[in-house]
């Protein structure tokens, strides 16, 4: 049987890659995809612990996270389309409306 640390390291690696994606990419869609990656890393953790504790709750929460990811993707992409219709850009550093 695999020790759980392996899963944690895998999860950590995916999380870090996702974080780096969020921070360094300019394309908002790729940023969104990186966020999906982060969520996925969390899922691995949850499922691994679920398996090792023999408690199915972890999987339930992973399921909720997937649902959440779906909602987030829908809304996020909706925002992107709306933004694109208005501003003709999807570059993250041109989206600075938060400044006002």
């Amino acid at each position: 049987m695999m020790p759980i640390g392996h899963y944690l390291f895998l999860s950590l690696a995916l999380f870090l890659i996702g974080v780096i994606g969020v921070i360094t990419r300019r394309n908002v869609i790729i940023v969104l995809m990186s966020i999906e990656l982060i969520l996925n890393a969390v899922n691995i953790n949850l499922v691994a612990f679920s398996r090792y504790f023999g408690d199915v709750a972890g999987q339930v929460f992973a399921l909720f996270i997937i649902a959440d990811a779906a909602a987030e993707a829908a809304v996020g992409l909706g925002i992107i389309i709306a933004f694109f219709h208005n501003r003709e850009t999807v570059l993250a550093d041109e989206m600075d409306l938060l400044k006002w």
């Binding site: 974080v19 921070i23 990419r25 940023v31 993250a92 989206m95 409306l97 938060l98 400044k99």
Partner: protein, 712 residues
Amino acid sequence: MNSSGYFLSHLWLIPFFPLVSAAVMFFFGRRLPKDAVNLFCVGSVFLSFLHAMGATLKLFSLPADQRVYQQILFQWVTPGAMPTSTGLVNFVADWGCLLDPLSCVMVIVVTFVGFLIHVYSTGYMAHEGGYYRFFGYLNFFMFFMLTLVLANNLLLLFVGWEGVGLCSYLLIGFYFLKKSADDAGKKAFIVNRIGDAGFLLGLLLVAATFGTVRFTSQGLADPTAFSGILQSLASMVAQHQLAHGASVFTTIALLLFFGATGKSAQIPLHAWLPDAMEGPTPVSALIHAVTVVTAGVYLVARMSAIFQLAPVAMDIVAIIGATTAVFAATIALVQTNIKKILAYSSISQLGYMFLALGVGAFAAGIFHLMTHAFFKALLFLGAGSVIHSLSGQQDIRKMGGLRYTIPATSVPFIIATLAITGVPGLSGFFSNDQILGHAFNRHMMVDRYLALWVLGLITAGLTSLYMFRLLFETFYGMSRIPVESEGHIHESPKTMAVPLMILAFFSIVSGWLALPVLWGEQSPFERFLEPSLRGVEKDAGSITFGHHTLLVEYALMAGLVAFVVLGFWLAYKLYLEQPKLHTKLAASWPRLHNLLVHKYYVDEIYDALFVNRIKDLSTALSFFDSKVIDGLCLDGAGWLVRAFSRISMWWDKWVVDALVNTLGWFPKFLSMPVRMFQTGVFSTYAVFILIGLAILLGVYGHHVQTFMRTLH
């Protein structure tokens, strides 16, 4: 009142239902379908009627001397201590309900006739715009009218009084795109304001004299703990502080009566009522025949205790009433608009009521108020039905022969005509007879009342004449309807016809309450009202009536019937048998005819005396305003301000702004490093979150580690 029961303890619900419904109409009415509007508005009035019925029946079940129920919802106006003629008094006006036989009659009349008119309106207004608005106003009006009637003090009554004035204005001007309707509304409002000024003065004088405006403290749980006009009056008279006929009583009575003349359209403030016929016909019926105009009568009856102590005022009331009765009846003889005839008829009948009040027969006045409510509402609704059938035609010269084309309207209308003219057996006969009988009785005590009695009789004859004229012109004889609209004549819908029938029934039977008079007993209606109208003293100088024998009673009735028959015969001759005759008659007395057609030139006189003078004054004031105030004061001040503002601007720019800018520059400079964080780009914020995470992990990492080690 320990055993008050549901209906009495929920008296406040009676005006509350229409208020809720009106609020719904005003806020959401536009979006509601017609059926919902009907359900809300008619339903709310019906609920009010049910509650009023319940309360009345409960009141009936009590012994006669306990038939007063009063309920104080909350203290409303509490200005504190107030100096009066009897010293400092803690003046309080509450928001409360009073139900005694007098308000009982009014509530029943208002809710019942009001309900029927609401039902009628659903048919009459079905094709009009602003349906919800109309019903919202109508319900709002019901709320104020019921507040007026159920008020337990003069101030609250004044609230209702003004409220019905407002609603009356809104409803007269309902077709606000029509200039005449707009003007009529304004006229009604302004004329009423003049009367209201009198009322307000009277109200203040009452408060100053008695230290309270609550009508009575009877009916409250602990009557001694509360003040009341009636009680205070009784104690003043008993302690001889004020005597019978004191000038303060006369003043109060005259001021209040002045208010009543405004509301009830008596001379000299009668001019608004005929114009008010511009409103939709159900409104004319509800407001300008049944409810608002009787408010004046109600007010005088309500304050009867004071009026009884002011004989001069009583005489004036009687004289004005009698004069108005004859005056309006004569005008009604020559009018050609069906609604205006009825309007003048209302004025005349109201004069009749005031005549009754003036001679001290308060119960007879209220009795006539009730019977009048039924048949006059019926007449108006019938007229509305006729107008509806003729698609808006109001001129009786263009009617005729409608008896058989619209039977469901004409039969009730004929009944109402018979009732108002005083044909024996119908309600009008009994109430007319009561009033004339009391006037005659007073004449037996005081000679000068003979003239009043004679005027009353003449009015009865005139009423008969113009009402039968109206009847014959409209329903009998040859049709004078223009050919092009002949084909459109249609019977009114059921919602309009059924209320007519119900009202016709009550026009017949409501007079029978006074049936025992025929065998010389006191009318039970009078006996029922007696506790409310009793007054405070029963000694010399108070109003007394002579007693006539049964034979004299029958003679009086015969006299009344004779006048009625005379009027009928004249109308028959002039308008049915020889229709040309009345035009000839008019031609032979052109001046008199013109005088009547122009309503005694009252409007013109008012224009000349008041309206134009006010216009002149306005012109003068406007001249003063534009030349002196604007020209000298304002422009001069403006120049000064400009001059000073120049100086001020310089100061502002070079001194104040410079300071402010310097001050503003400091935080801007200091915040430079912070501003760099706020890029508005979300990934920057993500970096900050990440830095936070790094710090947290660095600081608390070993805790996490410890926690992980404990996992099993």
